[in-house]
């Protein structure tokens, strides 16, 4: 059965779009160009966020505030967190890979709303630049990525307002992206393709986008109220004017707990694509994976107050949120065991892509375990706002999401560019990152358990040695970026030709040229109903043999 597809966006004829590298700095409507724009833009912000992290770790080499003045430290810390979350992880795991892959996976020539898609991307660079320039002009915001009042009301207003406007833009971009993903996955599926035949990343993006659409607007509303408090001196969150800071915390975490899943669910999806290809086995437990993603989406919306156990939260609320949070470990655990079972007995090729994916599995389990521990009120009261929490979430956002981003780059670079990456450099990159990461963050568990508070430029001298160890780990992480950078630049020019399908993968993006043409397939879109049919005889009508078109 073959079906001819009309071009997705006829009105916006692609012949009017720039070609060549100019496309990448234009208002292109091609989902692949937009995906790569997200990726490169996000990576540049990652480098800036990384420099800021370096500054933090240098400051923390000694117990006194010597390298950065205290208020500068606060600005650097705030920028680091905001950049890494809103300008690197969220845009890259959602925007970059989502835009590139989802149309392929549903068998479409583009996203449902190409123009909205381009608008969503182009909201990001101005927001990011604004945020960073505020540091040089009036000083950046100082109240952390959480912008808790009354701190955010009493610190200098100029930086905080820029921060709010910037996060509002980024949130808007994320909402537009989410609407586009939901519409693309539900409405643009090629006829004959059932939901339960979609690659897992589609499910992950569907779940994530539901979270984005339901929770990001609440953050937007909250930040608008906060800006009123700062500019118009209303008292929504200002106790001095009769306001209530706890309401801010509830509204903020109603978004920001789901936000942690907005950072990690897409990563779950990407890992589920990468593992089967490199161990030549079907993804284990497809159906349970789908249900756990949806379970995480539902539960993820009702656990936010575990960030507020020490905010005078009443006992019944503590009880409810402890139980709900602990329950999240169930779907999460199912996914973990499914990945392990996928690897089990597979013909694993130990390349950079799978190494980073396996690194993700290890780190994520450790972060998940500390998460469940933090969900228990008696324990959390001791370690809340200490380095233990910092260790917990870095194990998940860095050890989890960032490892997956690297894994995905190793996996899809041949598709993006038509060139292979150098494996030796990739393995060096992995080794340095894995060792550096664990050296940097594992000791922070100890620091937190022993009472070192987070978000401080100065600390008790007894913590000096362990902080220095942590900083050495950070140095290794910084060094690990060099082979990676060299690899992506050098391979782009001199890399071995990749061919269409170097990994012999079965998902649709590999069944076209590398890089793919403007509307994805020169001819008809393949109907892939068994994206994980490895190890079986899959050359049948539904799964065409892998041909070099």
């Amino acid at each position: 059965m073959s079906i001819s597809l009309p071009p997705a966006n006829e009105n916006t004829s692609n012949s009017l779009q720039p070609t060549g590298w100019l496309r990448f700095i234009s208002f292109s409507l091609d989902h692949k160009v937009i995906g790569l724009q997200y990726l490169v833009c996000g990576f540049l912000f990652y480098l800036i966020g990384g420099v800021l992290a370096g500054a933090i770790r240098i400051e923390l080499l000694s117990p006194i505030s010597d390298f950065l003045a205290r208020d500068v430290y606060n600005q650097v810390l705030t920028l680091h967190g905001t950049i890494m979350i809103f300008l690197w992880i969220v845009p890259v795991v959602n925007g970059a890979f989502g835009n590139y892959l989802i149309p392929f996976y549903v068998g479409a020539r583009d996203m449902a709303f190409p123009r909205l898609n381009a608008v969503a991307f182009w909201m990001i660079p101005p927001a990011g630049l604004m945020l960073i320039t505020s540091y040089f002009i009036n000083g950046a915001a100082q109240s952390g990525w959480t912008a808790y009042p009354p701190l955010s009301i009493t610190t200098p207003a100029a930086g905080q307002i820029v921060w709010i406007v910037s996060v509002l833009l980024l949130g808007g971009s994320s909402i537009f992206g989410g609407i586009n993903f939901i519409a693309t996955i539900l409405k643009l599926r090629r006829p004959g393709l059932k939901l339960m035949q979609l690659p897992m990343y589609c499910w992950a993006m569907l779940g994530t986008s539901i979270l984005v659409v339901l929770s990001t607007p609440v953050l937007a509303g909250t930040l608008i109220l906060l800006s009123f408090d700062i500019v118009a001196h209303t008292g929504f969150f200002n106790p001095a004017l009769g306001g209530n800071v706890i309401v801010y915390q509830h509204l903020f975490w109603f978004y920001s707990h789901p936000a942690v899943y907005i950072m990690v669910l897409p990563a779950f999806g990407l890992v589920s694509e990468i593992l089967p290809v490199h161990c030549r086995k079907p993804l284990f437990g497809y159906t349970t994976m789908v249900y756990s993603i949806m379970g995480i989406v539902v539960l993820g919306l009702v656990v936010w107050a575990h960030h507020m156990f020490t905010s005078g939260t009443p006992p019944w609320m503590r009880l409810f949120f402890t139980i709900a949070t602990s329950f999240i470990a169930v779907p999460t655990g199912i996914k973990f065991f499914n990945w392990v079972a996928t690897l089990w007995g597979g013909r694993i090729s130990l390349n950079s892509a799978i190494l980073f994916s396996c690194g993700f599995i290890v780190n994520f389990v450790l972060g998940g375990i500390t998460g469940v521990a933090l969900a228990q009120v008696p324990f959390d009261i001791h370690v809340h706002d200490t380095y233990f929490v910092v260790a917990h979430f870095h194990y998940i956002v860095y050890g989890g999401s960032v490892f997956v981003i690297f894994s995905s780059i190793y996996h899809w670079y041949p598709k993006f560019t038509g060139k292979m990456l150098d494996e030796k450099l990739g393995i060096i990159h992995f080794a340095l990152t894995f060792i550096g990461f664990n050296l940097c963050f594992a000791p922070q568990h100890w620091l937190g358990l022993n009472g070192m508070p987070r978000r401080v430029a100065e600390y008790d001298p007894q913590f000096t040695l362990v902080n220095q160890i942590s900083s050495v780990g950070a140095l290794l992480m910084a060094i690990s970026t060099l082979p990676f950078l060299w690899n992506i630049l050098y391979s782009f020019i001199k890399g071995e030709k990749a061919g269409n399908n170097p990994w012999q993968a079965l998902t649709p993006e590999w069944l076209t040229t590398s890089p793919p043409p403007v509307e994805n397939w020169p001819g008809e879109a393949p109907l892939v109903t068994k994206p994980y049919g490895y190890g079986a005889n899959h050359s049948n009508e539904n799964n065409p043999p892998i041909t070099q078109a």
């Binding site: 009309p6 909205l116 339901l214 509303g221 209303t234 008292g235």
Partner: protein
Amino acid sequence: MTTLPSTKEKSEELTSSDHQHSDHRLFGLITFLVADGMTFAGFFAAYLTYKSVNPLLPDAIYELELPLPTLNTILLLVSSATFHKAGKSLEAANSKQCQRWLLITAGLGIAFLISQMVEYFTLPFGLTDNLYASTFYALTGFHGLHVTLGSIMILIVWWQARSPGGRITNVNNFPLEAAEIYWHFVDGIWVILFIILYLL
């Protein structure tokens, strides 16, 4: 249902008109309204929490006058009905009548905004007087912003529905449909707002 026609024959009848996309666009619009509704939900939640845990001093409590907001509620409810009429007229290819109903709808929207302004100027409290006042203005103001945008949209649709020459016809009725759904949404939010803010 999708841009991808399910059969070959169908693909031939789908021409360059953007009508074929209307289904995704409505779906996208509804997803957007869910998001927009969540912003209001956040505001409502904040308001109700304030009300239950931040009691005001006795001298800061005012009884809101009901007549004007009740009139506002009626204006919006009627405007929903007139918008519906406009849609029906367009379906019947009666552009003149459709335009007339649209104009009435826009008029009702603008009347709502004027009456809201009158209420603002007669209220005994200002934006920063107390928590309750601030929340009141934030909620009604955010809703008023929606009504303003909606009225502008209706006027644009009204202009585009002219015949001959307008882009909106009974074949290409997406902009009208979209504005209508949005308008019903804004009215629905008002009803909730009216109950929570004025009646509770």
